[in-house]
Symmetry: none
Subunit: 500 residues, 2 copies
């Protein structure tokens, strides 16, 4: 038994190393690789991916997991070992159900679709992209069939990102969220808009960089265990227990973009840097789910870094860095400006109040496409109708509408809900933290975030992927995933900002 466990770990160490290496190759490609290195880099990533896949689908691993599963009930169910066995078993069972032909065909289809999508978006030409999306939707239907019988056709896809989470659970949460968000936005629309013109000035990039580093330092980001670079799209990548890297991008005439990217990715990175050391080089050294991961990035980005206590500490520092731009703006006006609610077309640029509605729209369309209730050719129209219903605006073209996200093109149907679930979970965690640390606001006003980080490490980070998201949230908050705390947070915050 002990020997089998060691064999399992050793195999998983190897596979984890290879996955980290794929991440390193991708990071280098997006940061420092010379332009013409791309072709051979593709071959290298393909080679390592193939080797990792062969190891993951080997009889050796399957047999080991099978044998260990027979004994997992004799183990402490919360032990690292039991969790590792269950997690690996869950992944292997899923993987085994999907045919090799489907996997390689899907890889081919989505590779082509991504490059077509890029052109389609540049030309705002949905027709060009439509046959590729049709193929992806059709293949995703086939994918669901591998898992028949299922409760909901969307379940097998959602489970890839949110292990154990059901579509009906997710929709129940969204059904509470939707009307109250729409109402909140309408109320805000009926009140005087806040000014954020001071954010739209020239902000020198090196000083933006330094201020972002100052904030990351206070958050507790350890530069001996990570770094920050510039890329076209911000992301976080993990190469090792002690090597987690974030990226950001700068807009010279809109200060919040780089800062909140840094804080958001910093939140992801602090999670990755907080896994217990004995989970190293296994699939448990990972986030519990995409939504739990997003709860960490969103918590730091929004509940911390868009709060008044945070800026009571940082705003005088920021004013010293950008005196010309900000000397005439007081902290309250600044706080209101960075929290301005304004229905807009692009998800990634949207504010806290409208963001989740962008997600619900996508989830509804994904399900409708899978069920054949809306034909792929009619998706742009359906998109625009829902934008009007939820946010009161209509995209002038598909580039600013249905073509804005890469997710469907890479096949990631099932991914979007995790963003809104992350918001919801961040609200639950925030409520619990504030009850456990009653003077958290006062700590933040003094620039102290170590109490917060310690709490997150103790209660969430260290567990890595040991527990499924619903289970983890229950362990932390005593409740399943529920939207009330997040809605209360939003309604209180915007009630004050907009005097609702």
């Amino acid at each position: 038994m002990k020997k089998k466990l060691e064999q399992l770990k050793s195999l998983l160490h190897e596979i984890t190393d290879l996955n980290h290496i794929i991440a390193i190759l991708g990071w280098d490609q997006q940061t420092y690789m010379p332009e013409k290195g791309a072709a051979e880099r593709g071959s290298q990533i393909e080679t390592v991916t193939r080797i990792a896949h062969l190891k993951y689908t080997s009889d050796e691993l399957a047999d080991l997991v099978e044998e260990l599963m027979n004994q997992v009930n004799n183990m402490d169910p919360d032990s690292d070992e039991a969790c590792l066995i269950r997690k690996t078993h869950h992944n292997l069972v899923k993987q085994k159900k999907v045919s090799t032909e489907w996997v390689s065909e899907f890889a081919r289809v989505t590779t082509v679709a991504q490059s077509v999508w890029e052109k389609a978006r540049a030309n705002s030409n949905f027709k060009m992209y439509q046959p590729h999306l049709e193929k992806i939707v059709s293949m995703r239907r086939d994918y669901a069939e591998f898992f028949a019988p299922y409760e909901h056709i969307y379940d097998p896809m959602l489970d890839d990102y949110e292990p154990g989470m059901k579509t009906t659970e997710t929709m129940a949460i969204f059904n509470v969220l939707r009307p109250r968000l729409i109402q909140l936005i309408q109320e805000i629309g009926n009140h005087t808009q806040v000014d954020d013109s001071f954010l739209h000035q020239n902000y020198d990039e090196p000083r933006q960089w330094d201020f972002g580093v100052d904030v990351l330092n206070h958050m507790g980001f350890d530069w001996k265990r990570g770094r920050q670079d510039r890329t076209a799209h911000p992301f976080t990548n993990t190469f090792a227990m002690d090597d987690v890297r974030i990226t950001t991008r700068f807009m010279p005439d809109y200060f919040p973009s780089a800062l909140f990217s840094s804080v958001h990715e910093g939140g992801h990175a602090l999670y990755e840097l907080g896994f217990a050391r004995n989970l190293a080089r296994t699939p448990l050294a990972d986030g519990a789910s995409m939504a739990v991961h997003e709860s960490q990035s969103r918590l730091w980005e929004n509940l911390v870094a868009r709060s008044l206590p945070f800026w009571k500490f940082f705003y005088p520092r920021l004013q010293r860095v950008f005196p010309a731009q900000l000397s005439g703006v007081d902290v309250k006006s600044f706080y209101q400006g960075i929290n301005r609610v304004q229905p807009s077309l692009i998800r990634v640029e949207s504010d806290e109040a409208t963001y989740s509605l962008h997600i619900m729209l996508r989830l509804e369309l994904e399900i409708a496409m899978l069920k054949g209730e809306i034909a792929v050719k009619d998706i742009p129209e359906a998109w625009n109708e829902r934008m009007q219903t939820y946010l009161g605006i209509t995209p002038p073209d598909d580039a600013l509408g249905v073509l804005q996200d890469i997710h469907w093109a890479f096949g990631g149907i099932g991914y979007f809900p995790t963003y809104a679930l992350g918001n919801v979970i961040s609200g639950q965690i925030w409520q619990k933290i504030n009850s456990d640390i009653p003077d958290l606001d006062q700590q933040m006003e003094k620039g102290k975030f170590s109490g917060l980080l310690t709490w997150l490490r103790e209660n969430i980070h260290r567990y890595g992927a040991k527990y499924e998201p619903q289970d983890l949230v229950y362990r932390v908050t005593g409740s399943k995933i529920t939207p009330e705390p997040y809605l209360n947070y939003l309604e209180k915050k915007y009630g004050q900002i907009y005097s609702l």
Copy 2:
């Protein structure tokens, strides 16, 4: 036969990808990796090294090469295919003798040793590094035993860097070199020293960087196929046919350091960028040997970039970049200054006349350590004694002595002699180039290096690792490796500079 060849290439493509990935992991470690990532990076390198080694020692590859070797005599012996089969066979025979355990253990040991070496050098603390070096020397002894019986314990290691080259051949060349170099240095010491005080001023780093880039541009370095970064120790690394990266380091108060590092590594890079495209992703897309590689870097660094014609073009440009430092110095004084011969402590900063003596010292110590004639703990003392004998100076501390080079830390015993052999070969090539391009000096005076680069590509670069170094040098120059041309070059050059 054709199918077998395709199978061989496909296997070698995979192995080459893995080796390039190991290089990427190492480059990242020395450029951008956060400090604490080292331990798990070691595991990752170990994992890929082990996989590559298993593939390289697989029966599948051995059987293929065996079968193809039986038919290689029916092929054009100079064809890419015949060379690939022979080269792979040579490597396989060597690699098969070494145990997989040794390879992965050595990867682990040297990864840790490198980060210890960095700290040890920073603190001039040999004791800290000593156990790691002891382990490396001991493992290198074990390595030699895999090849027993050998003519010389050093042969198996030297052969890794100089295929086909013997320790006794190398020592024979060094035995001609040593007395004439020592005599040359003594004669120079008896003549009036040239002034180089103008080099020891403050030279702004960004302008140093830009001037280095200007020189690399003229050399023909293609930034779409490579890049330059800063590291503690300059090096060149190849990740793909179109992705070759160099590094340099800056001394704010000694201008030549960064420039000649850039040119030196640029020479390596031009070689790597010049391999024929049909050698891609095979072991033939490599230098013929480390010495041939070094002949390219040294040729650019010394025979080109420390020549008077080179500076007749570049010196006015340099004066424009650093007017305060150089406006009062004429080109001849500058040329003499950058060629000043002065026995000094640091190999990489040493001049052309003394450089090879630094190498001979290292070769002698390596052999003595391997044979157990000098204990590792006594190496600092032995180092200092030889420095006194050959160069008449003694390092004040180990950072400036035995700890100055990274090579032993990465396990590269056997590597050093290739530097001096590279000098020797560069002299032979230079003689031949000047006979083929009689107006080379005039071209260089006009800043034209494309004729030189074309010659190098045509006669050396494109062949990659098709031929063993002795064979390649013979094909290019009509002679085996011989020190006469290099000694003649040095004696003529310094005869003029010092009016000997």
